[in-house]
Symmetry: C2
Subunit: 173 residues, 2 copies
């Protein structure tokens, strides 16, 4: 099945991490590929998830405004190639493609030349039917929503960012 956590509110990646734990509790095999986030980005859960057996890849190249469009494109091409392999390898019970949905609406670079939602769906259709795939990211398009089995829109009602409070260790990262 395909699950989508979308929307502008806090909880998308966090819920995906929660699903990792739930699945690990049943001895399931879990793989998470993070788009955009780079290994330089130290978030509390990363080492712990790896230690518990999640196969985890952070494919991003760090702060995108410091990188050329070509560098960003190469990193997304690399991540997508990795996704294809992971989705089709039949090794995992749950595969999480964190922030992949953000890729389809990036404004600084044009991803559509080499990857769009239809390409993703074409690969999802070939995934072993006992494997569940979780996609996260803002602004899921209707084509993805139509294809998915479960979609939650995580809507920001209020956020302490707006009071000037910065991202907090243990909550945002």
């Amino acid at each position: 099945m395909v699950l989508i956590f979308t929307g502008n509110g806090k909880g998308k990646t966090t819920a995906a991490i929660g699903l990792c734990i739930r699945a690990l509790g049943w001895q399931k095999k879990v793989c998470m590929i993070q788009f955009l986030k780079s290994p330089d980005f130290k978030s509390g859960e990363i080492d712990l998830l790896k230690k518990m057996g999640v196969e985890l890849y952070q494919t991003g190249i760090g702060f995108s405004w410091k990188k050329t469009p070509q560098q960003q494109i190469e990193s997304i091409k690399y991540a997508w190639e990795l996704c294809r392999k992971v989705l089709l390898c039949e090794k995992y019970d749950i595969i999480i493609l964190d922030e992949i949905i953000n890729i389809f609406c990036m404004r600084t670079i044009s991803v559509a030349n080499f990857l769009n939602e239809k390409d993703l769906i074409a690969v999802l259709q070939k995934v072993k039917n006992t494997t569940d795939v979780v996609l996260t990211g803002r602004n899921a398009s209707q084509i993805l929503i139509d294809y998915a089995d479960l979609v939650t829109d995580m809507k920001e009602i209020k956020h302490y960012y707006k009071k000037g409070i910065k991202a907090k260790k243990g909550l945002e990262y």
Copy 2:
């Protein structure tokens, strides 16, 4: 700070579990009190979270329709007393009160006689200011939303339940 995950969609408890992991990754002390869910309810994450150091209490008494209203009331009173102690003990960095919001809108029993949102807020106001508290459950009322620092409404756009697919091990439990 106080964070609320509300709404009718999948992701509320799952995101709370994700926050546990993120916080544990920074060696923070985490306590989770689950309302309604009983120790009979075997969910994948429970043993794993305990093993990783989360202090976790499942205070529910199982399927409520098999219990008398008095039994339900007693279990909620017990859970609330535990919450008060945990919130005020100054031992934890993150406290998760899972499904507490559901308590305030139960139709089968009248909780309002001994517990309402104002009682909860009165205790939250006394919590040490470096402790973050996460409340989950459907239908958060305006009084709770106004008090919280962050609120995400997790809205169901679609769910495979509606296609007749049952709750799935590793995803729902």
